[in-house]
């Protein structure tokens, strides 16, 4: 690994400015009562000391994205003969996501296995993924929230996997470590100084944060436990009773990657778009006949938890489709706690 670098807090704007000159830079900023990723502009004050309300998911996987445009036409000789042209662009804008928590970037590792599959690699995703660099900020002990559980899913507050650069807050500034080559290139900037002297302090910050999280329960049994509970209607009723079936958990989840595809016509032309969809919505699986394989919120919550802690790990070498950021808990209007559900399922399996 490359050498540790250091940047003083007051130099940060310089670095951001120089990054922004080359690409889109998304930083967490306060908007209303929330923190969201917005393009960096001089004068803007990024929020680094708490995790953003919405993760930087949209940087690679926009809430709504055009798959292609179509243009209908008519044969000039015979207007009864239609013509159809499809115009697609998978181009993505070079982007630096700056200041997300590591878990927010790590979510894309879960995306990658689905979107960069062998049979049908997703060109839109791949282009955006390649065009995006993640400079994340390791959590300090004070940033660890009651809802954090990254350590449950094999990660931690300073887990750089998924990041390209990992920053760590230290006195007066931040240490910066390149995680990938893409990241190393970013660190070639005059605003950054050598950080070897700060390395120990950074390590201590990381350790302290990890310390706050404490022991993680063993959820290795969750894939089997959730499957075992599949037909236990009472169990899922109890888990989902308070759920109101909104999409806050999925839309704010750094690993939720489901989408829908819709056409929007406008006269003779139009767009086919893909946009975020939520498995918690009734319409997600509603079939044209009116049949719905997941008609109740119990079915849907079962699928959400099952997907993350059972089906996905089964298909992907045990990797849990959750980065433990806790947004689904924190932002849930009724505080549905996915940790509790997984633990209940594991406990149920144990009998």
């Amino acid at each position: 690994m490359a050498a540790v670098k250091y940047i003083a807090s007051d130099k940060l704007p310089d670095w951001l400015k120089s990054l922004a000159a080359k690409s889109r830079v998304l930083v967490p900023v306060a908007e209303g009562g929330g923190v969201v990723f917005r393009p960096y502009a001089p004068g803007c004050r990024p929020v680094f000391d708490s995790d953003a309300t919405a993760p930087p998911k949209g940087a690679v996987f926009p809430a709504c994205q055009e798959l292609f445009r179509y243009e209908q036409g008519k044969d000039p000789e015979d207007p009864g003969k239609p013509t159809l042209k499809l115009i697609a662009s998978t181009e993505a804008e070079p982007t630096v996501v700056f200041g997300a928590k590591p878990c927010g970037a790590r979510g894309f590792l879960i995306f990658d296995r689905v979107y960069i599959g062998k049979k049908f690699p997703d060109p839109y995703y791949i282009a955006a993924r390649e065009a995006t660099v993640f400079v994340t900020m390791a959590c300090a002990a004070a940033n660890v929230e009651n809802t954090c559980f990254c350590h449950w899913v094999g990660s931690g507050p300073a887990d750089g996997s998924g990041s390209d650069v990992l920053l760590t807050p230290v006195a007066g500034g931040y240490t910066a470590e390149a995680v990938t080559d893409k990241g190393a290139a970013l660190l070639e900037d005059p605003a950054l100084a050598d950080g070897a002297a700060k390395a120990d302090e950074a390590a201590a910050v990381k350790a302290a944060a990890r310390e706050v999280l404490g022991e993680a329960p063993d959820i290795a049994a969750s894939p089997a436990a959730l499957l075992a509970a599949f037909d236990d209607a009472d169990f899922w009723r109890d888990q989902s009773d308070k759920c109101v079936s909104c999409g806050a958990c999925t839309y704010l989840c750094p690993t939720c990657y489901c989408f829908t595809i819709t056409d929007e016509p406008k006269g003779m032309s139009g767009r086919r778009m893909r946009s975020w969809d939520a498995c918690m919505h009734f319409q997600f699986t509603l079939e044209a006949s009116g049949h719905n394989p997941r008609p109740t919120k119990a079915h849907r919550l079962k699928n959400r938890v099952g997907h993350k802690f059972s089906y996905y790990p089964t298909l992907h070498d045990g990797l849990v489709a959750c980065c433990g950021c806790g947004r689904c808990i924190k932002s849930c209007p009724v505080s549905v706690d996915i940790r509790e559900i997984v633990q209940n399922a594991v406990a149920r399996a144990k009998g």
Binding site: G34, S245, S275, F282, I329
Partner: protein, 323 residues
Amino acid sequence: MSRLEELKTRIKEALPGLECVIGWQKGYDPLHNTPLFMRTDADVDKLEWGPLNVHNPAVYLPTFTGKKVGVVVKGCDSRSVVELLQENLINRDNVVIFGMPCTGVIDLSKVKARLAGAGVSAGTVTAVTDDGKTVSVTAGGQTTAMPLAEVRADKCGRCQFPNAVLADAYVGDPIAPAAPAAAADADLAALDAMSVPERMAFWRYHMERCIRCYACRNACPMCVCRDHCIAQSREPHWLTQDDTATEKLMFQVVHALHLAGRCTECGECQRACPMDIPVLALKKHLNRTIRDLFDYQAGVDPQAIPPLLQFKLEEDNIKERSW
């Protein structure tokens, strides 16, 4: 404490005849309570009462079609129950209402802001106590005392219904309502103070961060279409999936206008919003309009017909323009 115990006793008595009783219990951290579905006596023992019971449990009632359920309500929640009854969405015979006098609930956004002001994250709360006047929140090793009057929800400050408007079992003596608020809520007052173009900018700015999760809708006890909401249908096709402030605002317009004359102003839409978008102001404004035009407020009389589902041959307060 004894009042809560008495309530628990009443619930336990009724429980055998009920699918469940909906109330609140402690949540994942001391700052958060969470809805509780009581099916056993042990569940009832988890019941909480206090300023952290921010949720409106009436939202769950229509999902129990054909089953008899109990619900514990604050005064404001009971208005939603009344409105649901009024609209034939639940059956009076199938709901048992438990009530207690309510002195207000906190607004988590206000608490969060307070804590942020004190330099600590609301995500690190380790203890919360309340003595009826002050809420003390411990986070990041320091305790911040917040007068309830300052961090309670706007609706509580001018609450005219601290007691359930309709209850089958009411524990404790009804308390007097707060003095009617002279001025509008701060959010509405702020909007009132803006010019019309400024308001457009206001909504454009705030709607930009909407993630279209529909928590506002799903937490709303009066949004009874829910699974069939026109926001997500193509037949009819009111909204596109475009990630634009325009589409997002249009949904808020749909929500607000569908609630016109029905909204009990419980504030769940805004409380549920993970992005903290001030969507309640739209409904407050409409409620004011409904009050001015029809001298009506929702969720008070189970026999009333919502004003937009009826009419008068001569309207008292509608002055049509002449040309």
